[in-house]
């Protein structure tokens, strides 16, 4: 066990965990940030995607000890009023069904749009293809990402 200080959603949080614990479980069990989801534990499904220094990362295979000092952004940190452009587009396109994979989808979309404000279809496919959805929301995800780009992107 070790005392680690993390920067999560703009706030410094201290946790006492083993440094080889995956970030996912630190977020969920130690910090109560359950918006980030466990889906496969092997970095295969993307439900656990969070942003570390603006880059999409699979938190289930990222040890907490490896990211000390980095800026971590989770679904809870996007907006207190669901008004982040990606959230607004997700609502407008009625993307979620069961909703379980959507925090990962949304965080991957945020990362994509931060890097490429006007992604091509191929770039959307490429960035979003690894985030699995069992309900079949993919086409709506694509429409929502395009909508964000058309409506001014993410800040």
């Amino acid at each position: 066990m070790a005392i680690l200080t993390l920067s999560i959603n703009g706030t410094r949080r201290t946790v006492d965990v083993s440094p080889d614990t995956p970030l996912l479980w630190v977020l969920r069990d130690a910090l109560g940030l359950t918006g980030t989801k466990f889906g496969c534990g092997q970095g295969l499904c993307g439900s656990c995607t969070v942003l570390i220094n603006d880059k999409p990362v699979r938190s289930c295979v990222t040890t907490v000890g490896s990211i000390a000092g980095a800026d971590i952004l989770t679904i809870e940190g996007l907006s207190p009023t669901r008004s982040h452009p990606v959230q607004k587009a997700w609502i407008a396109e009625e993307v979620p069904q069961c909703g379980y994979c959507q925090p990962g989808q949304i965080m991957a979309a945020v990362a994509l749009l931060k890097e490429k404000p006007h992604p091509s279809d191929a770039e959307i496919d490429d960035a979003m293809n690894g985030i699995l959805c069992r309900c079949g929301t993919y086409r709506r995800i694509k429409k929502a990402v395009r909508r964000v780009a058309e409506e001014g992107g993410v800040r």
């Binding site: 083993s18 359950t34 909703g99 379980y100 925090p103 699995l132």
Partner: protein
């Protein structure tokens, strides 16, 4: 048994006993179905389905589980329609498990279909009481009043009273027995595209799934189970497991050995550190090959006849052309994105459960049995479900959670890893199909047989319900066919295996319709007919089916030229147990020896459509889930073990592989039927039939693989 007192009598009795003011405090009352309704202060509670607060907020209870199919929108829309509610003032609350709601089981595409009458009456009954209350306040005739979006209007004077102002007056009235229902032409909520009520919570991480439930003092458990079905724990060594940080306790439970820890990760690590010796039992030599051989052998055994017409033997003998083929479909995992989990808190005199379950009442019954408590002492909270697809009917994870909480004496959540989920599912059954058809010289289908060889879900869970070897569920999708065939016989051979099986979105039609509709295409080919025209000719006496088939053909541009390299296939999914016919046309290309699906046109007749976008979403969902199975899904066994473990060896459809799905519904004023499953069965055969157009090769095995 419920006491059959009406509201007014009960209130009078209460007042007599209590001797004081009873209105405005907690008083029990009975709704129109004789169910006990708990009255709340400052609220009008006309029945178990809704309550109205003084500020006009209407709280509607949803008794079915939200697993992505939109029940928390569609069902409240039905209540709100008949209540004439202001939709913007409607709030949704998930009902805890109780017999008061009728069946809460969420499966079989039944939620809207079986709630329709009951929810309409619940809303209409409350509306009548509010209308009567307003008429009483004004001292006018009820017939001079009408309702409109959350208010009663006095027609001659235009005065209006919002529902919130009528809470006290309406609470004193008796619920009408047979409230008048709206004419569908007056619907203003049903049939209108309505945003889902659960979307906001699902874009900011606040939606609570089973895996997210927070309970003070909660511990986490992971269970080591025998990798072979039916195996048992012989002994275990937990020394290393107990040395893992956070591990609190190790306990043997029915399904294996549980490690209970203060975090999910510690529980997983502790579980992996266990050394368990299992007696693998008799299934240890099972493999996909031995099962395939067994199905082949069973195919020649005596079959149970599920349905027959005419004299198929002589019609087949005298047919001008005979065609026969066999088809195979594999075991499939559900692979819900939310891994299996349940949270249980067993105390001396009560038990509380939080579960992403499709069967809260079944969970309540089972928890009561395990704890030796009466059901009233068991509270089951249904959370959001991160996918269900039939998997969450099963109580296996509930049993584990209850046993872990009993062992630890504190609330415990059992969480499965993806590998646990993939290797301990209740799989979609494997199946083998023999079909034959006889065509007349004019190419008319005069004889048809379909023999299904498959394990029986009912035969596994409740064998006493099987009569004469026939599992009626196992022939769904291929009985009561939409086709007029003068001589036909549908047969079933039960071929059970030790592999646990269960309901998987659309259940047996997921494979029976694949075999049927691929074979119908083969027959069309043998008759020299267009696949759409061949089906159409068999449906001429069934106008409802015909409209659906023709709608799919029209919207897909059937018969019109396609760009080079694109091919179409058509398939029809019979109404089956969900009572909803669907026709689909898939447009594909072959890309690097793999199938790419570009566009799927769905035509459906599901009666009155509650939420048009909700219907479209269900078709999109059925198609994508069905395409994962058609193109990729296969669970195989070796040495009694499931070989797949995660999404690398059990891949599912990805974003870039997903086609455009278009949904067209037949206009209808009939009562609504199911939509959650009917979008699935036709997609595999539609794609397989398109592959034939592209390659000239018939697909007779799922998943579709081009050699």
């Amino acid at each position: 048994m419920k006491t059959q007192l009406n509201r007014r009598e009960f209130i009078r009795v209460s007042a007599g006993v209590g001797g004081g003011l009873v209105l405005g405090v907690m008083i029990p009352a009975f709704d129109a179905y004789g169910e006990l309704v708990e009255q709340k202060e400052n609220e009008f509670v006309p029945n178990v389905w809704l309550r109205i607060a003084r500020d006009g907020t209407v709280t509607i209870l949803v008794a079915r589980s939200e697993m992505g199919q939109g029940v928390r929108t569609a069902l409240p829309m039905i209540v709100a329609e008949e209540l004439d509610a202001d939709w913007s003032k409607v709030r949704i609350e998930q009902a805890v498990a109780s017999a008061d709601y009728g069946s809460m089981g969420t499966g079989g595409s039944t939620s809207v279909r079986t709630s329709w009458d009951r929810l309409r009456k619940a809303g209409a009954s409350a509306r009548m009481m509010l209308l009567q209350a307003a008429a009483g306040v004004w001292g006018v005739k009820e017939t001079e009043c009408r309702t409109e979006a959350g208010a009663v209007i006095h027609k001659p004077t235009g005065r209006s009273l919002p529902y919130g102002d009528l809470v006290d007056a309406a609470s004193k009235l008796k619920a009408p027995e047979n409230p008048p229902l709206k004419d569908p032409k007056d619907f203003r909520i049903i049939g209108r595209k309505t945003p889902r009520t659960d979307t906001p919570e699902k874009v900011d991480g606040s939606a609570v799934f089973g895996i997210d439930v927070k309970v003070p003092g909660l511990l986490h458990a992971a269970v080591a189970r025998c990798p072979v079905f039916g195996g048992k724990v012989v002994r275990y060594d937990d020394m290393k497991a107990k040395g893992i940080d956070g591990v609190k306790r190790v306990a043997q439970i029915d399904s294996g050995v549980a490690v209970i820890a203060n975090s999910t990760w510690s529980a997983f690590q502790g579980r992996d550190a266990l050394a368990v010796t299992f007696d693998e039992g008799s299934a240890a030599s099972l493999s996909s090959e031995t099962i395939a051989t067994m199905l082949g052998e069973y195919a020649t055994k005596k079959a149970a006849v599920a349905e027959k017409a005419g004299d198929v033997t002589s019609a087949m003998a005298s047919a001008a052309t005979k065609v026969s083929a066999s088809f195979d479909a594999p075991f499939l995992a559900h692979a819900t994105m939310e891994p299996m989990n349940t949270t249980a808190w067993v105390q001396k005199d009560r038990c509380e459960i939080w579960a992403p379950t499709q069967d809260p009442q079944g969970y309540r019954r089972e928890a009561a049995r395990l704890c030796a408590l009466p059901e009233e002492k068991v509270i089951v909270h249904t959370t959001y479900l991160g996918g269900g697809f039939g998997r969450r009917w099963e109580t296996d994870v509930l049993v584990e959670a209850v046993q872990c909480s009993k062992a630890a004496g504190v609330p415990v959540r059992v969480t499965w890893t993806r590998e646990d989920d993939m290797r301990h599912d209740f799989y979609r059954p494997v199946s083998h199909h023999l079909l034959s058809g006889g065509l007349s010289a004019e190419g008319k289908l005069v004889a048809f047989t379909h023999r299904i060889v498959a394990p029986s879900i009912t035969g596994q869970s409740s064998p006493e319900r099987i009569k004469d070897g026939l599992d009626k569920g196992a022939v769904e999708g291929t009985v009561n066919l939409p086709y007029d065939i003068p001589n036909m016989q549908i047969e079933y051979v039960m071929a059970n295996t030790p592999v646990p099986i269960g309901s998987w979105r659309s259940v047996y039609p997921s494979q029976n319709v694949f075999a049927l509709e691929c074979f119908i295409d083969e027959l069309a080919g043998a008759a020299g007919k267009d696949p759409f025209e061949f089906r159409r000719a068999l449906m001429l006496n069934r106008p409802r089916m015909l409209r659906v088939l023709e709608l799919a053909a029209e919207k897909s541009g059937w018969g019109k030229p396609l760009p080079a390299g694109r091919y179409r296939g058509i398939a029809f999914s019979p109404p089956s147990f969900f009572r909803t016919p669907v026709a689909q046309v898939a447009e594909i290309s072959i890309d690097n020896r793999s199938v790419r699906v570009h566009r799927v046109v769905c035509a459906i007749d599901c009666g009155i459509v509650i939420n048009p976008d909700g219907l479209a979403v269900q078709m999109e969902g059925g198609v994508v889930y069905g395409l994962s199975a058609a193109l990729k899904g296969e669970i195989t066994l070796k040495r009694g073990r499931v070989e797949q473990g995660n999404f690398d060896d059990y891949p599912i459809l990805t974003l870039e592989e997903t086609p455009v799905v278009e949904t067209y519904s037949v206009q209808s004023n009939e009562a609504p039927t199911g939509t959650g499953e009917p979008g699935l069965p036709a997609i595999a055969p539609a794609v397989a039939n398109a592959v034939f157009q592209a390659t000239g090769k018939r697909i007779r095995r799922l998943p579709i693989r081009l050699g």
